[in-house]
Every structure is written in C-alpha cells, then in structure tokens.
C-alpha cells in the first residue's frame, strides 16, 4: 500500500501501469514528497515559471480587480463631467477616450478575466484533479492577458487612447475619420487579447472532458463548471469573429484594404455583423460563469441543494445556443428588412425564458431553504434582484418599436449596467467573500462586509436607476455635456452622487480585503460548511490539491448522508484514493461517466509560457510601430520558444521509452 521510491522513476515512465490506491496522511513523509514534486521554486524564478492553477487564478483575480478600479476611476471622471449642465471638467475628446477606455476595460479586461480567475483557481479543486489539462497554456493565457491589457493602455498617457466606443463602429473608427494611433492600439490589442481568451477556453473545455475525479459523472459537476464550459465553447466559435473584424479594420487602416470602405464597395455593416456575432455571445460569456457561481454558492447559505440542478444546467446551455442567434438586435436601427427584425426580436424575447428558469431556481432555493444572512448571501440575493430589473429592461429593448425609441439613450446605459454590475460585479464580490478563506486561510470581516454590501447596493440603485428616466426623457448616451432646461439636471446629479456612493462601497470592500489578508480570523478547511469538493482540502490548499485522487459519489460530496431522500449506499471517498506520485501525475477520466482511462503526466514549471507570451506581445508592438524587421524577429523568437515548449519529453511520456512494454508497470507503485 505504501508508496515507496516513487520519485526515482521520473525519467522513464512505463507505457502502462495500475495506479496504486492508498492513503497519504497529513504530515507523513509521503506527503512531504508529494509536496516536493508539486511545489514551485521560491523567488522570481518561481514567479515567472509557475504553472500552478491556483497561483494563476489569483493573478487573474488581482489583475482583473486592478482593471476594475482603473475602469471605475474613469467612470467617476465621466460622472463628474456630467454632474451638471455645461460643465468643462473634460474636453469632448477626453470624454470620448474615457468612456471608450471605461467600456473596453470593464468588458474585456475585467469582466471575463475575473471569472477566468475564479475558474482557474476553482476548477481542479471542484473537479477533484491536481491541475488543469494544460498548465503551461494556462500560464500563457494569463501572461498574454496581462500584456494585452498593458498594450491597450499604451497610448493612454499620450492622450491618444481608443476613442470610438467599445464597439468601435466604422466609418468613425476607419482611416478617414480617425487618423491617430488610437484605433490601431485597440485593434491590435483585441487580436492579442483574443489569443489569450482562446487558449484559456481550450484549456477549460479539455479540462472538463478529461480531468474529473472518478465517479464525477457529467450530471454531478457544479454549475460554475457548466457556466464556464458553456462560455468557453462559445468563445471558440465567437472570438474569431471579433479578432477577424479588428484585423480587417487594421488592414483597412494601415495597408489600405477596402473591407469597410464605402467609396470602394466596402460595407460598414460588415463590421456590425462581425462584431455582434461575437458581441452578443460575449454578453453571456461574462454572465453565465457568474450565474454559475451563485448557483453553487447560494445553496451553502440556504442550507439545501440548489432547486432544479438539471434545469439550471440545461438553461445555461440553452441561453448560449440562443445567444448565437440574436446578434441583430444590436442593429435594429440600421435599416435591415422588417422580417429580419421581427425574427431577431422574437428570438431575443425567447432568450429570457432560460434566464427566468435560473431566476426561479434561485428564488425557490432561498424560499425552501433556511437562509443564513452572511455577506456572500446578501450579494447573491442582491444579484437576483438586480438581474430581474436588468432582465425586464432587456426584454423591453428586444421589442423593435420600443428599441427605436430607446436606442442610443441613457436607457441603454442603465440596462447594460444593471446587467453587467448586477450579474457580474455583485456575484463576483460575493464570491470573493465566499472563497476568500479558501484562497488565503482567513475570513473576511463580516461587519465591513455588510457595510460594503449595503453601500454598494444603495449607491448602485441610486446611481443607475435614474438613468432609465434620463433615457426616457431623451438624453442620448455618449454626450460629453448637455444644455440646461432639458429636464436632465436632477437625474444626472442623483446619478453622480449614487455613483460615488457605489465607489465608496467598492472601496470598503477593498479595504476589507487588505485588512483580512493580514488580520482576518483563521479559517478551517470548510468554514461555511459547504457541500462541494474544494472545501475538502485545507485552506489554502496544498500545491498538489488532493493528496489522493478522490472518488465521487454525488453532487455534494461533503453533505452526503445529510440530505433527505438520498440513497445511502454509495459514498464519496476522500481519504483513500489513487496515489499517483511518480512525478507530477493526475488521473484522466472518460468524458461522460468519468471512468479512469489514463494516468496523465503533468509538466514541470517552465519559462516557455512567459517567453512565448512576451515575444508574441512584442510582435504586436512591432506591428503597431510598423517595424517589420522587429516583427519578423519576434515571430522567429516566438516560434523558437514554441518549439522548445512542444519538444517531446520523455518524462511526460511523449517519446519512446527504453522500458520493455510487456513487463513494465505490472508491479506496484514501487521499483
């Protein structure tokens, strides 16, 4: 049973073997050896080379929150400018750049990356694995995200930031009307960011199908996993559309191509099609994982499983499927044929059905449970309320005639903030409160937590609800100021005050984070008495996640035996499981019923992801500067680094071995 001499065999793995089952007690020498296999080198070397999904997840979270703060400060500048009529705080051009960078930052550099942070950290823990399917790809996706974010801010200090709104419509963003570097930075930055999102999505998809603990059949995975999976699959289909759109625009601007050039038979509407074929699914990409977070975490505070697991999982996928068929609702006012408008309008209304399913599931869970009013619960309940308001205004704009009235007014700004803050920011902040003890081993302050929630909730509604009214009163979006006597003064004043209250709420939250990292009360493995697998390991989890690969028997492994009407016979096994410790190893299972099919060799820490990310990003800098030799050099370096990365490795079982295949692996874990 005991694993002896396991690390000796690192170099030449046999072609097949029976994975040994056993226990690894905490504090035992075997555990120390497992720790040694998975640990990351200290210092800068470890920081640049680590492939640990937990480190990468935290990096994603921290970076995304920094972008949230930057985008938030930009928004406050906008609100100061709009606090009263005829203000001169910002010039029109500054206003354009700030609202554009606000939208770009929030949508692309905060909203998805923050969810990728949670998923990167949590997936292997939720699924009972030791890492993601492609640890190095995971590191690469973070580095490129970071570099793409910096890239998009490259021209900001020069007063030349992107200025055509986050959806960047041509012809305004084309070569004729926008001659500076502003749009080129945005265009190339988006293609670069697209690489990060794509490799990240590939990683999630493959991880779900390959890396679940035995027994975690497809109908037992947490809803967060469903949400991120759905978003990732959607990304694989949607990201190429936007990357292509931005690349074609760059060709138009820099090479003199004619895709969007009306004078030469090009079509500006092509931009809108390509952008929104991506854009609408993207809206779901940034909310479905957040909805998954709520579906998984809310039940903990209702002390009962989620009502309607299957319905919610199916609704998640149905939303995305429909989400690919509604992009034209962003183009109702472009003069498309009425038939097209009616079809897309109807489809957009239908899409509210699966969302309603999820809402009713959460309400029922709260209703039938015994709610515990901790801070995370408040954020999740607040989310449900905001979701309902945002959903209502959404259905209103899906009606074509009403949209003609409301399009390009503050009603849309109100709607999109209810949806984005309601379904993304509130669950995300709630999720930080919830998983903070897992990340850091310490609890966040409840007192500051409640303060942060109420300040954020009241500030948000005070700030954004009046925007509906401003819109109905006809105030257009994206105007840098407005004359007095339009009847818009009061609503704008209230909106600005509300925005600042909201910002104070976010500040309280951040203060809480900073204080609690150092001084929070110590948390055990499972401080909330939650049902899912990540709470079975210590807080924070060890580098290898699970000492032995667990065997799963239900959707809520840590609540087994407590739930009424549940069959008793099969139980999740957490203590005893596959040892898998001849180097970095984890178990690969079959896609649907999670039967063990392969022992996966996981890569060591490596610098190649960082180098590939760096060279690829510099390649884009070369394109931006029209420095073709530099671009060629960086291309060559990227290829070289990729070749090193892909070089078949014996210890990963990618090359022939000297072992005799017939006799190898029949023995136990020992030599």
């Amino acid at each position: 049973m005991a694993a002896i001499g396991a690390t000796r065999h690192r170099i030449d793995p046999p072609l097949e073997r029976i994975p040994e089952v056993g226990r690894i007690p905490a504090g035992s020498p075997i555990e120390a050896r497992l720790e040694k296999i998975w640990e990351t080198a200290p210092g800068w070397r470890g920081s640049l080379s680590t492939v640990d999904h937990k480190t990468i997840g935290v990096r994603y979270l921290v970076t995304a929150f920094l972008f949230l703060v930057i985008g938030g400060i930009e928004a406050l500048f906008l609100r100061i400018q709009l606090v009263g009529p005829e203000m001169g705080f910002l010039t029109p051009e500054q206003y354009n750049q700030l609202f554009t960078m606000h939208g770009v930052t929030m949508i692309f550099l905060y909203a998805l990356p923050v969810l990728s942070g949670f998923s990167n950290y949590l997936w292997p823990l939720l699924l009972g694995s030791r890492d993601m399917a492609f640890p190095r790809l995971n590191a690469l996706s973070y580095w490129i995200f970071l570099f793409a974010g910096l890239f998009m801010y490259i021209s900001f200090p020069l007063g030349q930031a992107p200025n055509a709104g986050w959806f960047n419509y041509v012809p305004f963003s084309g070569p004729v009307y926008n001659t500076g570097p502003n749009i080129d930075v945005f265009a190339l930055g988006m293609v670069l960011l697209g690489i990060s999102t794509t490799v990240g999505s590939v990683n999630f998809v493959v991880t779900l199908f390959r890396m679940r603990a035995p027994g975690m059949t497809i109908n037992r995975v947490p809803i967060l996993v469903w949400g991120t999976l759905t978003a990732s699959v959607a990304n694989l289909f949607a990201i190429p559309a936007v990357s292509l759109a931005f690349f074609l625009l760059w060709l138009d601007r820099q090479i003199g191509a004619h895709f969007f050039d009306v004078a030469n038979n090009g079509q500006p509407l092509l931009w809108q099609h390509l952008f929104w074929i991506f854009g609408h699914p993207w809206v779901y990409v940034v909310v479905l994982p957040a909805m998954g977070i709520v579906s998984d975490a809310l039940p903990t505070f209702c002390r009962r499983p989620l009502v309607g697991y299957t319905a919610v999982a199916l609704a998640t996928m149905a939303t995305m499927l429909l989400g690919f068929g509604v992009w034209v609702h962003h183009m109702f006012a472009t003069g498309l044929p009425t038939v097209a408008l009616s079809i897309f309008g109807a489809a957009s209304m239908v899409i509210s059905i699966p969302s309603a399913v999820a809402v009713f599931a959460w309400i029922a869970t709260i209703w039938l449970g015994k709610p515990v009013f901790k801070t995370p619960f408040l954020f999740f309940a607040g989310f449900v309320a905001l979701f309902i308001i945002g959903g209502m205004s959404g259905v209103m704009t899906a009606a074509v005639p009403l949209d003609w009235q409301l399009n390009e007014t503050y009603f849309i700004v109100a709607h999109l903030h209810y949806v984005l803050l309601g379904i993304n920011v509130f669950p995300v902040v709630g999720a930080i409160y919830y998983w903070f003890p897992k990340f850091t081993g310490r609890m966040m302050s409840e007192k500051l937590g409640k303060w942060s929630f109420w300040t954020m909730f009241i500030g948000f509604n005070a700030g954004f609800f009046p925007m509906h009214i401003a819109g109905l009163l006809g105030m257009p979006r994206r105007i840098y100021t407005y004359p007095s006597r339009m009847g818009w003064d009061e609503v704008n004043l209230i909106t600005t005050v509300g925005s600042f209250i909201f910002a104070v709420g976010v500040l309280i939250f951040l203060v809480n984070v900073v204080l609690s990292v150092k001084r929070g009360a110590r948390a055990g493995a499972n401080p909330w008495d939650a049902p899912t697998l990540e709470w079975a390991v210590s807080s924070p989890p060890p580098a290898y996640n699970f000492a032995t690969i667990p065997t799963i028997a239900s959707r809520h492994p840590l609540w087994e035996g407590r739930i009424e009407g549940e069959e008793e016979h099969s139980r999740t096994k957490l203590e005893e499981g596959y040892l898998l410790m001849r180097g970095r190893e984890t178990l690969g299972t079959s896609p649907i019923d999670a039967k063990p099919v392969v022992i996966l060799k996981m890569p060591e820490d490596s610098y190649t992801p960082f180098l590939v990310g760096l060279f690829v990003s510099l390649l884009f800098v070369g394109l931006l500067l029209h420095s073709w030799t530099f671009t060629a050099l960086m291309t060559a370096l990227s290829c070289a680094a990729l070749s090193v990365w892909m070089w078949p490795r014996r210890n990963l079982g990618q090359r022939t071995t000297r072992h005799d295949p017939a006799s190898a692996g029949r023995g136990g874990e020992g030599p």
Partner: protein, 201 residues
C-alpha cells in the same frame, strides 16, 4: 458500487494517442480555426452579394494552376497519412520518406501559390476584390507555412528516434492539423475559384 471500485487493469501512462490532452487540444484548436475561416468566407460572400460590381471584377479566375495546386496539397496530406501509418505499423524508417514527401509537396504548393499571387493584376489595396482575395488566400498560406514548420519538427523528431509504434502522439496531433489546413483549402478554393462560375451561370 462498481462505479467507484479502483481499476484493476493497467492504464496507459502519459501522452497516449487519442487519450492525451494534446489530441483534445488540437481538436479544440481546429474548431476555433474553422470558425475563423467560416467568418472569412462569410465576409467574402457578404461583400460579394452587396456589391454592384461584376464579380470578380477582373473576370473569371483561371482554374488550371490552382486546380493542379489543389491536387498537390491533397497529395501532401496523403503522403503524411502514409508516413503516420508506417509508424503505427512499426516502420519508423520508411515513415520518414512519407514525411519528406509531404513537406516537399507542401512547399511546392507554397511556391506555386506565390507565383499565382505574382501573376495577379490587382493587389490587396487596389480594390475590394483584391483585399478579399489576398487576405483570404494569405490567411490560408500562413497556415500552410505554420503547418510546414510543424511537419519539419516532426520529421526531425522522427529521425532522432523519438517515436515508435506505441508512442508518437506528436505525429497524430501535427498530422490532424495538417489535414485540417488542407481541407480548409478546398473551401477557400471553392469560394474564390469555383463559386464565380456558378454565379455567372
């Protein structure tokens, strides 16, 4: 109960063929790349349908050279496939010839395609058709060149004796990507070279 019993038969270790992560990864990559080409062709047909110009403005494209080139590219796929098959049967040596043939044919495709480009009377910035033609074929050509780079690595690794009939996952993964690049060409070829004939009736 049986579903949770520990395995008693040996499991493959490491990157074992289609059980490897890499195989799944390349399939996901192909899905997203296929979408990219889908959007490129959407762009082509959308713009072609909206324009009032004769299409293509320079008259119907000649089919002879591109047709031959298509066959060359498909032959390259076949050669690679034969090489991979030899590896699976244990003939690492003879597989090398298959890979060399695949690379030679792929390079011939690139050379002929570049010639085809040189003979065009329009360019990427002369008119809309030029932008479409060079962007779409350029995207494909880039993929072929990347694919050739991959094939060269695979050839080198095979010659260094890295692979045998049991372990050659890199070949499987690189191979499916190469086949994908070739299949995409059939769509590009149909759109750019064949569809104008259909439209003209």
């Amino acid at each position: 109960m049986s579903e949770t019993a520990p395995v008693v038969t040996p499991l493959p270790v490491g990157s074992a063929g289609k059980l490897s992560g890499g195989w799944w990864g390349v399939i996901a990559l192909i899905v997203t790349e296929a979408s990219l080409f889908g959007y490129l062709l959407f762009t082509y047909f959308y713009l072609a349908a909206q324009t009032g110009q004769d299409w293509p403005p320079t008259g119907l494209p000649g089919l002879l050279i591109p047709g031959i080139n298509t066959i060359i590219l498909l032959a390259s796929s076949a050669a690679f496939w034969a090489g991979e098959r030899r590896i699976r049967q244990g003939g690492t040596r003879s597989s090398i010839f298959g890979f060399i043939a695949a690379i030679a044919l792929g390079s011939a495709f690139v050379a002929i395609q570049l010639l085809e480009w040189k003979n065009k009377t329009f360019s990427i910035n002369s008119d809309l058709y030029g932008s479409l033609y060079f962007t779409i074929t350029g995207f494909h050509l880039c993929h072929v060149i990347i694919g050739l780079g991959v094939l060269l690595l695979l050839l080198a690794w095979t010659m260094m004796g890295y692979f045998d009939h049991k372990r050659h996952v890199a070949i499987t993964i690189g191979g499916v990507y190469w086949h994908f690049v070739d299949v995409v060409w059939l769509f590009v070829f149909s759109a750019l070279y064949l569809s104008p004939y259909l439209q003209r009736g």
